[in-house]
C-alpha cells in the first residue's frame, strides 16, 4: 500500500462500537489506520469525504466462514473473515494456513482458524504454534466436536499458552450422531433423523469445565439453545474467558423452516424450536451473545438439491448478515453501537486483530450503511458463490453503500 495522506470522513453518523449511541462526527484516517474520531476539526491537509448522512461503521469481522467469497463479503460490508478449518484441504498445516492468509489480499483479509487436531479427527494435536506463526488467529474444532475430553483438555491448555482462543462446535457427537434435525414436531413429521437440543448444552458444559481447569479462552461459534445460553451466562458471571456467537438463521428461523424438506434450511447445528429461538433473542439483548456471524457457506445444487439428509449443511449468509442483524436494532433489542460490537469489535478482539473498532491505530476498514434501504433477498441473484439462503424472498432493510479497506475505498 503506497503512502496515503490524511482522509476525513464527515457528514455521517458514527456507529462507534465503544460508544452508546449514533453521533454525528468526523473519522480521521492516516494511511491505512484510524487516527481519531468524534467532534474533530478537519485538518487543512486532509482530503474530505462526505458520508451524506449514512451510518459510518467499522467493516464487519465475520468470525467463522467456510469459504472466501469476496463478492458476497463486499456486498455485506464484511472486510475480514475468520476462515473455518473445514476446507477441501483442511487447515491443519502450515503451508495451507500461509496460503489462506494471503488468499484475500489486497481488498479482503482472511484470518485462518487453525485446525486443533490433525485432519480434524480429534485425536492428535496439529502444529498449532507453527500455524500461528503462519497467520492463524485462532484454533478451531471445525464443524464437529472433539469427543475425547483428554484431547480437548490438552488443546485448550496448549492454545492458552500461545494466547489463542479455541473456537468450539457445541454438539455432543454421541447424542447428535447422524441427526440432521432437532427433536420435535417438524423432524417427526418429516421422518428425519433427530437429536435432542440438549446435545448443545452437554458439549458446552464439558468445555466450560475444561476451561475452568486450564484457564483457556474459548469461543462457542454458534450457541442456539436456552440451556446453552444459561451455561454461557453462568460461566461469564464466574469470570471465565467464555464467549459465544450466533448466526441470524437461529435468531429469525425455527425448525419449521425445514418443512417441505427445504435443504437451504439444513444447518449445523440444526435449526431449533421456537422456544429456543426466543431464548436466542433474549440472549442477544442481554449481552450473553458476543458475536453474530454469517457462518457463510455457499453451496450449489450438487450439495443442496438432494434429499434432506444427504444435503450438505450450511447457508450462504454473508450478504444478509447486516440487513438481518439490523432487525435487532429496529426491534429495540440492541442499539446500533452494540450491534457493531457484535459484528466487528468483539470478533476482532477474539481474533486479536487491530480492527473492528474506531480505536486510534486500528485498521481503517470502514463501511457506510444506509440502514433503511429496502431490498428483497433473492437466492437466484446473489453475489455469493451460491444462493442457498433460507431467507429467500424475504424483504429486508439496510445496504452497504461504500466500503473502505485499509484506507482505500473499493
Amino acid at each position: 500500500m503506497g503512502m496515503k495522506g490524511k482522509l476525513a470522513i464527515t457528514g455521517g453518523l458514527l456507529a462507534d462500537p465503544a460508544g452508546t449511541e449514533l453521533a454525528p462526527g468526523t473519522l480521521l484516517i492516516e494511511g491505512d489506520r484510524i487516527v481519531a474520531t468524534g467532534a474533530l476539526d478537519v485538518p487543512a491537509d486532509a482530503e474530505v469525504i462526505d458520508a451524506g448522512g449514512l451510518i459510518v461503521a467499522p467493516g464487519l469481522v465475520d468470525l467463522g466462514v467456510f469459504r472466501t467469497d469476496k463478492p458476497a463479503f463486499h456486498f455485506g460490508g464484511i472486510t475480514r473473515a475468520a476462515l473455518m478449518p473445514d476446507q477441501s484441504s483442511l487447515l491443519d498445516d502450515v503451508g495451507l494456513i500461509n496460503q489462506a492468509t494471503r488468499s484475500g489480499k489486497p481488498d479482503f483479509w482472511v484470518h485462518p482458524i487453525a485446525a486443533a487436531t490433525r485432519s480434524l479427527e480429534g485425536r492428535e494435536m496439529a502444529e498449532i504454534g507453527l500455524m500461528q506463526r503462519a497467520g492463524a488467529k485462532a484454533v478451531g474444532t471445525g464443524r464437529q466436536w472433539i469427543a475425547d475430553s483428554g484431547v480437548m483438555y490438552r488443546v485448550l491448555a496448549y492454545a492458552s499458552a500461545l494466547g489463542l482462543t479455541v473456537i468450539s462446535h457445541a454438539e455432543d457427537a454421541g447424542l447428535a450422531g447422524k441427526a440432521v434435525a432437532t427433536s420435535g414436531e417438524t423432524a417427526t413429521r418429516l421422518g428425519l433423523h433427530h437429536a435432542p437440543a440438549c446435545a448443545e448444552a452437554m458439549a458446552i458444559a464439558r468445555d466450560i469445565a475444561l476451561v475452568r481447569e486450564t484457564g483457556a479462552a474459548i469461543h462457542f461459534r454458534l450457541v442456539t439453545t436456552q440451556a446453552g445460553f444459561d451455561l454461557i451466562r453462568a460461566a461469564k458471571a464466574e469470570g471465565l474467558a467464555v464467549s459465544c456467537g450466533i448466526s441470524p438463521a437461529y435468531l429469525f428461523l425455527s425448525d419449521l423452516a425445514m418443512s417441505d424438506f427445504r435443504t437451504f434450511a439444513r444447518l449445523s447445528p440444526p435449526l431449533r424450536s421456537e422456544e429456543d429461538r426466543q431464548a436466542a433473542l433474549r440472549a442477544v439483548a442481554d449481552g450473553t451473545i458476543d458475536v453474530i456471524t454469517s457462518s457463510h457457506d455457499p453451496r450449489g445444487p450438487e450439495d443442496k438439491r438432494l434429499p434432506f439428509a444427504d444435503a450438505a449443511p450450511g447457508m450462504a449468509g454473508a450478504e444478509t448478515l447486516l440487513a438481518l442483524s439490523l432487525n435487532l436494532v429496529r426491534d429495540g433489542l440492541l442499539g446500533m453501537n452494540v450491534l457493531m460490537r457484535l459484528l466487528a469489535a468483539n470478533p476482532a478482539k477474539i481474533l486479536g486483530v487491530e480492527a473492528g473498532s474506531f480505536a486510534p491505530g486500528h485498521a481503517a476498514d470502514i463501511i457506510m450503511i444506509d440502514p433503511d434501504a429496502p431490498w428483497i433477498v433473492d437466492s437466484g441473484k446473489m453475489a455469493a458463490a451460491a444462493g442457498n439462503t433460507p431467507f429467500d424472498r424475504m424483504p429486508v432493510q439496510g445496504r452497504v453503500r461504500r466500503i473502505m479497506k485499509g484506507g482505500s475505498f473499493l
Binding site: S183, G184, E185, A187, T188, R189, L190, G191, L192, H193, H194, P196, D260, F261, P301, E302, R305, L306, P307, F308, A309, D310
Partner: protein, 334 residues
C-alpha cells in the same frame, strides 16, 4: 361417535364431482390429503376388490399404452410386486428399475435420474427411496404423476390406504375405533402414514414402542404415545404390529430380540387385553417370534394380514387409475 370433517357439500357420498374428489397430481404423503380424499380413494379401491375377486381374467385395459415405471432405490419384494400386478391388471406397460442395477450406483444424482425417467415419457412413476423427502424431490422434476412407495422414515401412503381399507371392510367403519400401532415407530414410514390417515378418518390412534424407538412429539401426528404395551392394548379394536428391522436389534435401540418379544411381542395372552374381536395386522414381512407370535399371526378370524396384501393390489389399482385420469382425458378430470 366423533365427527370427522366432511367435504364442503355432501349430497352424494361426497358431493364432489370428477377431479374435485382428488385434486392432486401426485400421491406423495397422507399429510397432503383431506379426510374425504382418503375416503374417495378407499371407495375407488372397493371397486377393484370386487373386480379382483370376481373372475379369473382380471384384465382391465384402461391404462393401455401408458408406461408405468417402478423406480425402487431401496429393496422391496411385496410392495414392488403389488404395484407391478396393479399396473398390469390395468393394462399399463410396467417397467421395473432397481437401484442395484441402475446408474444410481455409478454416482448419478437423483435429479439426473428423475430427468432421465421423465425423458422416457413415463405415464406414471412409482418411487421408493431410502431418504425422507426424496420422492417429492423427484416429483418436482417430472411431468407425470408420481406415487410414493415409501421414502425413508417419512411416509408410505399406499400402505396406510390399504390398512384403512382392510379395517373399514372388516369393521364396517374406521371412525371411533381404537387402533394400537406397536413397534419401531421411530424408523417407520408405515407408522407415520397410518397415524395420519387413521386420525383423519376419526380413529383413536395409540402408538406403543420402547422409548428408544418412539419419535419426539409424536402427538403432533394425532396419536397418543404409550410405553406399556398392555396398557396400550386395553380395549383396542385393531392391533397393528410393525416390523422390527434386524439392524435395530443389536443393542443400540433394544437389548435383544428376546427381550423385545417379552415386552412388546404380540402373544395370545396379550391380545386378550384387546376387544374380543380385535383385528391383528402387520405390514410384513413378519419376524415371527419377535414382534408377533405365529398363533396370533395365523389366527383365522383375528388376523387380517393376508387380506392386507389383497387390499394392497386394489388400493394401488385405484391410485394408478385416479392419478392418470387427467392424462387419459377422463371426463371431469381434465
Amino acid at each position: 361417535m366423533p365427527q370427522t370433517p366432511r367435504a364442503p357439500s355432501a349430497s352424494s357420498p361426497t358431493g364432489l364431482v370428477g377431479k374435485e374428489n382428488f385434486p392432486h397430481k401426485h400421491l406423495l404423503a397422507i399429510s397432503a390429503l383431506k379426510p374425504w380424499e382418503i375416503r374417495f380413494l378407499l371407495d375407488e379401491a372397493e371397486h377393484w376388490v370386487a373386480v379382483n375377486r370376481s373372475s379369473a381374467c382380471k384384465h382391465d385395459g384402461r391404462l393401455a399404452g401408458l408406461t408405468q415405471i417402478n423406480a425402487f432405490f431401496e429393496n422391496s419384494t411385496r410392495t414392488l410386486l403389488s404395484f407391478e400386478i396393479a399396473g398390469k391388471r390395468l393394462g399399463a406397460d410396467v417397467v421395473n428399475m432397481h437401484a442395484a442395477t441402475s446408474s444410481v450406483k455409478k454416482g448419478e444424482t437423483l435429479i439426473d435420474t428423475a430427468v432421465t425417467l421423465n425423458a422416457m415419457r413415463a405415464g406414471v412413476i412409482v418411487i421408493r427411496h431410502g431418504s425422507s423427502g426424496a420422492v417429492r424431490l423427484i416429483a418436482d422434476k417430472v411431468d407425470c404423476p408420481v406415487l410414493n412407495a415409501g421414502d425413508g422414515w417419512h411416509e408410505h401412503p399406499t400402505q396406510a390406504l390399504l390398512d384403512a381399507l382392510t379395517i373399514r371392510r372388516r369393521k364396517g367403519h374406521v371412525e371411533g375405533l381404537i387402533v394400537t400401532i406397536c413397534g419401531d415407530v421411530l424408523h417407520s414410514r408405515v407408522a407415520r402414514s397410518n397415524m395420519l390417515s387413521l386420525a383423519a378418518l376419526g380413529a383413536q390412534v395409540r402408538v406403543v414402542a420402547p422409548p428408544t424407538l418412539m419419535p419426539a412429539a409424536v402427538e403432533c401426528m394425532g396419536a397418543t404415545p404409550y410405553t406399556d404395551f398392555n396398557a396400550a392394548l386395553d380395549g383396542a379394536d385393531v392391533v397393528m404390529m410393525l416390523r422390527l428391522q434386524n439392524e435395530r436389534m443389536d443393542g443400540a435401540f433394544i437389548p435383544s430380540p428376546r427381550e423385545y418379544h417379552a415386552l412388546y411381542g404380540l402373544t395370545p395372552e396379550r391380545l386378550a387385553r384387546a376387544k374380543p374381536d380385535a383385528l391383528v395386522m402387520h405390514p410384513g414381512p413378519m419376524n415371527r417370534g419377535v414382534e408377533i407370535t405365529s398363533s396370533v399371526a395365523d389366527h383365522p378370524e383375528r388376523s387380517a394380514i393376508t387380506e392386507q396384501v389383497e387390499m394392497g393390489v386394489a388400493v394401488r389399482m385405484a391410485c394408478l387409475d385416479v392419478l392418470t385420469r387427467s392424462a387419459r382425458g377422463v371426463e371431469g378430470w381434465a
